[in-house]
């Protein structure tokens, strides 16, 4: 009910805005070629959907390509980030060596690396997925490291005295302890991975992907598809954040009473 109230006004506002936009563009008060009205955006997106029907929906194909890249890249980034974070968090020597390197590399935007990766491993999925994975990796590794380093030493002692191995302690004590940090890292990492994938799709994708669809449309000045594409990006990320991430949080650290 509260959620409903919270969203009522903004939704109403957006509906009103879209209505006004529709009217203004149809009456040529604003330029419909630059700012196509919502009905035209819907029609253009519909045309992407139907272009290659009945065999398949081109729109779904674009969404699938981006989803596939996001899933693979973020999985790689999360796994690598967890391992790196555990190692850096547990060993002070490794931390001292790699932390300055990581701090220096982290702020470099993924897209700046795209030309380099295109030269090295070519257009398409190799470059897009590598850069997406790299984008996810840094915030996750960084946060897991911080989490592991904050561990309550008593818990480590409790585990060592009952005979746990080092590997056992890494996954049974350090990792669950760092779960809150891991989730923060995954949130940041997914956001960066998502941004990077869309951006790199602009210049490195060869036929499919939401980024490719938007960029391709822009170069033909198909503004309807561009605007529609942005709307799809918003919905896509909204579902990802509200659906996947919040569920993950509820299942772990909230259940364990590790957040206030």
């Amino acid at each position: 009910m509260k959620q409903f109230q919270k969203w009522l006004l903004p939704v109403l506002f957006i509906v009103l805005l879209l209505g006004a936009w529709e009217v203004l563009a149809r009456t040529h008060i604003i330029n419909g070629a630059l700012f196509p009205q919502p009905s035209k955006i819907a029609a253009e997106i519909q045309s992407v959907h139907t272009r290659e029907l009945p065999e398949r929906s081109l729109l779904l194909k674009h969404i699938e390509a981006t989803t596939y890249r996001l899933v693979i890249a973020s999985s790689i980034g999360i796994l690598a980030g967890i391992v790196a974070g555990l190692v850096m968090g547990i060993s002070p020597a490794i931390y001292r060596f790699f932390n300055p390197l990581m701090t220096a590399l982290m702020p470099i935007p993924g897209i700046a690396l795209a030309p380099l990766f295109i030269v090295w491993i070519g257009f398409g999925n190799p470059t897009i997925i590598s850069l997406g994975g790299l984008a996810a990796f840094f915030p996750i590794a960084y946060n897991v490291t911080a989490g592991v380093r904050s561990v309550d030493p008593q818990l480590v002692r409790a585990a060592t005295i009952s005979g746990s191995t080092r590997l056992g302690i890494a996954f049974q004590v350090y990792l669950p302890w760092a779960m809150g940090y891991l989730l923060t890292g995954v949130k940041l990492g997914l956001a960066r991975c998502w941004r990077t994938i869309i951006a790199v799709e602009f210049i490195a994708a060869t036929n499919y992907g939401l980024g490719y669809m938007i960029w391709d449309a822009a170069s033909y000045l198909r503004s309807g598809i561009v605007f529609g594409g942005i709307a799809i990006l918003i919905v896509f990320y909204f579902v990802l954040e509200k659906g996947v991430l919040n569920l993950l949080e509820a299942q772990t650290i909230r259940r364990w009473g590790m957040v206030k």
């Binding site: 008593q154 002692r157 585990a159 302890w177 590790m258």
Partner: protein
């Protein structure tokens, strides 16, 4: 006492060093503990009694000297010892059952057998009905029951307890003391128990080791030969209490000078 000591502390000193200075926590401690006895180590705050327990646990290594457990020198922590922490140190991401099985599954127990064993200790600790609760939903007393069950479940030779009831309110504390005596009588473990409450020490111990203020040394040992169950009032009880107190008093005075003045729990609780 009978037979061989199970824990021997031989000429142990421990010095902590940080970038600026050295802290001598323990100097030249020699102690022996016999199987199935209840030993309480008491002393003013900062006397190194917890350090002593950490050395037996293997969390720290002595600067000089040796800790011998069951004939072998202690080099690292291991499941021949159980440890109960003052702040419980339960794993928040594991249920009560999961915390108790932790030491079992990590020592090669099959899951099913581990759960069966854990259930025994849940019964022993009166924790039935809370098997699937997460630690943050439990009271302090309940948490420490889980902590004790976790430490006992894998059947260690020695149970090390570091001010286990220090964070509990007075009422719960009394109750936990009674419970601990009952459990000790059932399991017959060797217990090394740290406290700074004289009342607690005399209620629980077969033998009380009194430590000096820093650097920690053994000030004296008081054997407590009172029948159980004990109460907190009888003449013989008060007599032992006076003995321990008189040993402690001058050390506490020193300890107060050592800035740890606020330690009023020593006499009152």
């Amino acid at each position: 006492m009978n037979s061989e000591p199970i824990v021997e502390i031989k000429g142990v000193s421990k010095t902590f060093t940080d970038s600026h200075n050295n802290v001598h926590a323990l100097t030249n401690v020699d102690l022996e503990f016999w199987p199935s006895t209840f030993n309480v180590i008491i002393g003013p705050s900062g006397c190194g009694k917890s350090t002593l327990l950490y050395l037996v646990a293997g969390f720290e290594t002595p600067t000089t000297g040796q800790v011998i457990l069951n004939g072998e020198e202690v080099k690292e922590p291991g499941p021949d010892r159980g440890f109960v922490f003052q702040d419980y140190a339960l794993f928040p991401w594991r249920t009560v059952l999961g915390n108790i099985t932790f030491g079992l599954t990590n020592n090669g127990w099959k899951r099913k057998e581990a759960i069966e064993r854990a259930r025994e200790y849940i019964r022993l600790m009166n924790l039935e009905g809370f098997e699937n609760a997460f630690p943050h939903t439990l009271s302090g007393g309940m948490k420490q029951r889980v902590g004790i069950a976790r430490a006992l479940a894998y059947d260690p030779l020695v149970l090390l307890m570091d001010e286990p009831f220090g964070a509990l309110d007075a009422q719960t504390r009394k109750y936990m003391q009674q419970e601990l005596v009952r459990i000790w009588q059932e399991t017959k473990k060797t217990v090394l128990f740290i406290t700074h409450s004289v009342i607690e020490a005399v209620y629980l111990a077969d033998r009380i080791v009194v430590m000096t203020a820093r650097p920690g040394q053994v000030k004296g040992i008081v054997d407590v030969d009172l029948p159980r169950p004990r109460n907190y009032t009888g003449d013989d009880y008060l007599e032992v209490r006076e003995k321990v107190l008189s040993l402690l008093e001058e050390e506490v005075a020193k300890g107060i000078k050592d800035s740890l003045a606020s330690d009023n729990t020593l006499f009152t609780d």
